[in-house]
């Protein structure tokens, strides 16, 4: 149990502190860092999916006026560590996937760098590649664990027996598509190598964590962490893809080292991001549900097949939410991977929970249909008393309340038996649950200092639009017991104390905990009348880390879908979410986060699809004209509400994290509504009009 901070600044809908710079465009993102006389980089990518580079003709390029360096596997410096194969950039001529980095051109202008990079002729010894995900592959394997350290498989009781004996069963396979994070700011860096300086390498990098970024870079180059500085005051979105540095960061650092004293800039093109910046694996999920006539689950099982790259394993924890969402005596979850000649998958907003709340939440809808039961009620009757996975009590769980309040706000009771037509449109309603674990990282440190009459909190945190610039002062103010206007926060630089990555919706929980401890230390040391320069630091309070409870945020999402009776075009006029996600620090930024997640979930449901062409081993539609994310006109009414939840077990703020829960369950709610509207059950995302046309009258 923790004593929660007395909320005074916390809970206020303050306007973003970085707002003015953002609406004017003067907030400087990584590539935009003003530096003297920068040189420009353009990467060279492999155009085969597997094999070896046998030669690269760079002589003509190097001789061109204005070309400063051409790095290839044949002349690049040898890196100190190649343990992480993603970072072993230009270390060997082997090509493990199409689009892999095989060179970089540095030139006086960006036009020249690009021209030269595109003009380098490359000879390959090509080998057959294998890049098709299928469930009947004999080489599917069980990884040692899945992302975030979860066990690969779990099993309790006997699912098969329950499936045989149950009154009602559902057994279907669901598919989620390959997705690309696509933050609007591309992965970009300005880098400077100054040999002999105290801190020889400076990276102004677009990252979700300056310290994790620094750790990775210093290891790869064999530098002390103190020899590297990473700066990132603003991030133009990341959604997980900037949680870990990708190969482009190592490449730009190599380019900088090749041109000592000269700042270099590298931004991946949008097209290159489809190869190099991570993505969400497609998933194939077999769901089995067994229930009695009253809807109580007798068994729930999920068997997941998904992909990773041969170069580096990333195992999305898709089966994990099925382990804890609903009560059932018999349960199973498995993950199997195909290691393919493909780019490296990675984190994308709510890894695990996002795809993992699709199959089960659609299967439940199918079960409700079989039972002739209200899908909201079906979820309520399967509410578990304790975490079915660990047996631990919940720190707080208000899913049922979310479902009830959501149903009421949405007008769920108007939902008829199905296929309602209004003019040219079929109209349907759907529901699904949301969940996201409440996480806090073990390490983060903050400083609090008294400076010219104001309190300054420093921590190497990141604001990717999540609101850290605004929210951390609110926490610091309450922890210090002062007016929020008297607090200044400095983030986004490794010169400030170590901060964990902005990932797993843990940023505010973790950094806020460190800031609170630092504030307490400060008050303990200097009292309420400090002097200029007084300073204290604090780490995340390990003792306050609760291990005895299962801590999650929950939610319920309701969707109205319209399907055009002639063309099958789909629209989502309404999406209502109700969440129980702990205490809300800033309702203004929180609502934006939740709605942003829900909108991205809708985008996943209706639009997004990285169409992988296994013949050539790349995403065919690798730009923003062909990879569709929802545009303004796709969005009509999206509401996010929250319950007033007090959870004393999570942290001193009582906050649970809100960045990711919004995207979980949305796609299932949409697909369930599509079924209600048309009778067509789509089990494979996205739900596009071609899947509607055959079912239309």
């Amino acid at each position: 149990m923790t004593d929660l901070l007395e909320p005074r600044a916390i809970g206020q809908a303050l306007v973003r502190r970085d707002g003015e710079q953002k609406v004017r465009g003067t907030a400087t993102y990584a590539y935009e860092t003003p530096v003297e006389n920068p040189a420009f980089c353009h990467p060279v990518q492999a155009t085969i999916a597997r094999g070896r580079v046998t030669a690269m003709d760079t002589a003509a390029a190097e001789a061109l006026d204005g070309v400063l360096a051409v790095l290839t596997p044949f002349n690049a410096e040898r890196l100190a560590s190649t343990d992480d194969a993603e970072y072993a950039v230009l270390q060997s001529p082997e090509v493990a996937f199409r689009g892999q980095l095989i060179g970089v051109v540095v030139a006086e202008t960006s036009e020249l760098a690009r021209e030269v990079a595109d003009g380098i002729t490359v000879a390959y010894a090509e080998q057959p590649h294998d890049s098709e995900l299928r469930t009947d592959r004999p080489d599917l394997y069980a990884p040692e664990q899945v992302n975030a350290g979860h066990p690969t498989d779990t099993s309790e009781g006997d699912v098969e027996a329950a499936m045989r004996s149950a009154e009602v069963t559902v057994d279907h396979t669901y598919e989620t598509q390959m997705l690309h994070n696509n933050p609007i700011e591309p992965h970009a860096t300005t880098a400077l190598w100054e040999p002999g300086a105290d801190v020889p390498l400076t990276l102004w990098d677009s990252t979700q964590g300056v310290h994790p970024d620094r750790a990775a870079v210093s290891e790869v180059f064999g530098l002390d962490e103190q020899q590297v500085r990473v700066v990132c005051p603003y991030v133009g979105g990341g959604f997980g893809s900037k949680g870990n540095p990708h190969a482009n960061v190592m490449l730009v650092a190599m380019a900088a080292r090749a041109l000592p004293g000269r700042p270099v800039k590298l931004a991946l093109t949008r097209q290159q991001m489809f190869f190099l910046a991570g993505y969400r694996t497609p998933t194939i999920q077999r769901l089995q549900l067994a229930a009695d006539r009253r809807g109580r689950l007798q068994a729930i099982a999920i068997d997941v097949v998904e992909q990773t790259s041969k170069v580096k394993e990333f195992a999305e924890q898709t089966g994990v939410p099925t382990r804890m969402m609903y009560a059932s005596p018999n349960r199973r979850s498995t993950h199997r991977l195909a290691a393919l000649d493909v780019p490296i998958p990675s984190w994308m907003r709510a890894p695990g929970e996002c795809p993992g709340m699709f199959g089960p939440e659609v299967a439940l809808d199918e079960l409700a249909e079989e039972l002739g039961m209200d899908p909201v009620q079906l979820r309520i009757v399967n509410e578990p008393d304790v975490d079915p996975d660990t047996g631990k009590p919940w720190s707080s769980r208000h899913l049922v309340e979310c479902l009830r309040e959501g149903a009421q706000r949405f007008g769920w009771s108007d939902r008829g038996p199905g296929r309602r037509r209004e003019g040219d449109w079929f109209v349907g309603y759907g529901v699904a649950s949301s969940v996201y674990p409440t996480m806090r990282q073990a390490t983060s440190t903050a400083n609090v200092r008294f400076e010219r009459g104001r309190y300054v909190a420093e921590i190497g945190a990141a604001d990717l639009g999540t609101g850290a610039w605004t929210v951390l002062p609110q926490i610091a103010a309450d922890a210090l017991g002062v007016d929020v206007a008297d607090v200044e926060v400095r983030i986004g630089d490794t010169r400030y104390p170590t901060a964990s990555v902005a990932g797993g919706s843990s940023g505010t929980n973790t950094w806020g905990s460190a800031v609170s401890v630092a504030a307490r230390e400060f008050r303990d040391k200097f009292g309420t009348d400090p002097h200029d320069g007084d300073e204290a630091s604090g780490d995340v309070d390990q003792a306050a880390m609760d291990e005895d409870h299962a801590a999650y945020a929950f939610g319920a999402q309701f969707a109205e879908v319209r399907v055009h009776a002639d063309t099958g075009e789909l629209r989502v006029p309404r999406l209502t979410g109700v969440f129980a996600c702990g205490r809300i620090i800033n309702p203004r930024t929180a609502r934006s986060q939740l709605i942003g997640g829900m909108t991205m979930g809708m985008s996943m449901a209706l639009h997004e699809n990285s169409v992988f062409d296994p013949r050539i081993g790349q995403v065919a539609n690798h730009d923003l004209a062909e990879y569709h994310i929802s545009v303004n006109a796709d969005v009509q009414q999206i509401e996010a509400h929250w319950l007033d939840e007090h959870d004393p077990y999570v942290n001193v703020m009582g906050s649970k994290g809100i960045g990711e829960i919004g995207i979980t369950g949305t796609a299932a709610a949409v697909v369930n509504a599509v079924h209600h509207a048309t009778g067509v059950r789509v089990r494979s995302l996205p739900v596009t009009l071609d899947k509607m046309v055959p079912g239309l009258p």
Binding site: V611, R615, A620, H628
Partner: protein, 338 residues
């Protein structure tokens, strides 16, 4: 991007001469397609001749009651023109369904119909493509065909290695409306001016997929003329796409209904804006009931070839365009009765 020279001549005649004299020269208008292709390496000219400020930016009345759209008039100005909105709603709607406000402010009457296919392989210079690199093959066959053709193609899986194979579609919305309106293209070439029916501007791939249109090298579009329409004409453009906005057509329909009959053009289904002449014939003089329209479209689509491929192929386009035509004509006839 390959280096190139840039020229802005004094007038159109000079522009035509400059392009005609240099085999690897191109015209530049709004640049929204050409500059995209320069960056992708799809277009690699030695000389870019800027005509944006040379041709007319005006929409003017023609003596016969029609309208002349200067080649440099922007898509947004044309769509906003009162006369276009009142007399040629199909064109205003097509323009407004295309691209975005920002792009329409740059895109021009001359450039829009000459934009090139959005085939993803055409735009990716690392993959074979007969249109971009004659004889290299067609990557789209059996690949990602969602935005590809079903009409004007001779087989469900043409030979990908044959030099004539191309299953690309023409992406312009405006062009579909212009085809249905029987617009006329004013062209100035090295050997003088000529007028060309819009429906003759685009060509099927034949054995030369690299060539999209019937314009010769150095031929410049100076204007597009809209012929007058009889009183009582109704017209509409219906675009079906994967997003509510800012997406190319999966299929689209431009319909112009007069007392004499229907003029129908289809988008997203062929290498050209597709005039549905068979359907038009069958509809001539008939009351446009759903059943009559369905039968006409059955005939129009009898030769359609669904292209299989990853992500389900594009067979859905055949019922989809069929349904969209029925719905569009139903809407126009109901409105006319109301």
């Amino acid at each position: 991007m390959k280096p190139f020279s840039y020229a802005r001549p004094g007038d159109v005649a000079e522009a035509v001469r400059e392009v005609a004299a240099e085999p690897n020269a191109v015209f530049l208008a709004g640049g929204t397609n050409l500059v995209d292709h320069l960056k992708l390496g799809v277009a690699t000219p030695d000389l870019v001749v800027d005509v944006r400020t040379l041709t007319s930016q005006e929409v003017t009345d023609l003596p016969d009651g029609g309208l002349r759209l200067g080649a440099a008039s922007t898509n947004s100005e044309v769509a906003a023109d009162r006369r276009v909105r009142e007399r040629y709603p199909v064109l205003a709607q097509a323009l407004l369904a295309g691209a975005t406000g920002q792009l329409r402010n740059a895109a021009t009457t001359g450039g829009n119909p000459l934009q090139r296919t959005r085939c993803v392989y055409f735009q990716d210079v690392t993959t074979p493509c007969n249109k971009r690199e004659p004889g290299s093959g067609c990557s789209a066959v059996g690949g990602y065909t969602r935005y590809h053709a079903v009409l004007g193609v001779d087989a469900a899986l043409p030979d990908p290695d044959a030099p004539g194979t191309c299953i690309a579609t023409h992406p312009s919305d405006m062009a579909v409306a212009l085809a249905a309106l029987d617009a006329q293209v004013q062209v100035l070439g090295p050997s003088g001016a000529r007028t060309l029916p819009f429906t003759d501007l685009h060509r099927l791939p034949g054995d030369d997929p690299a060539t999209d249109t019937t314009l010769g090298h150095g031929e410049l579009i100076t204007a597009i003329d809209l012929p007058p329409l009889p009183a009582g004409t109704r017209s509409a453009y219906r675009k079906v796409r994967d997003r509510a906005s800012y997406a190319f057509a999966l299929v689209s329909v431009a319909a112009v209904v007069t007392d004499d009959g229907v003029r129908l053009a289809l988008g997203g289904v062929a290498h050209t804006p597709w005039r549905a002449t068979r359907a038009e014939e069958l509809l001539r003089g008939r009351a446009l009931t759903d059943d009559v329209v369905r039968a006409a479209m059955d005939a129009e689509l009898a030769a359609a070839q669904p292209q299989p491929g990853i992500d389900g192929g594009n067979g859905f386009k055949i019922p989809l365009v069929h349904r969209t035509v029925v719905a569009t004509l139903r809407q126009l006839t109901t409105e006319a009765q109301a």
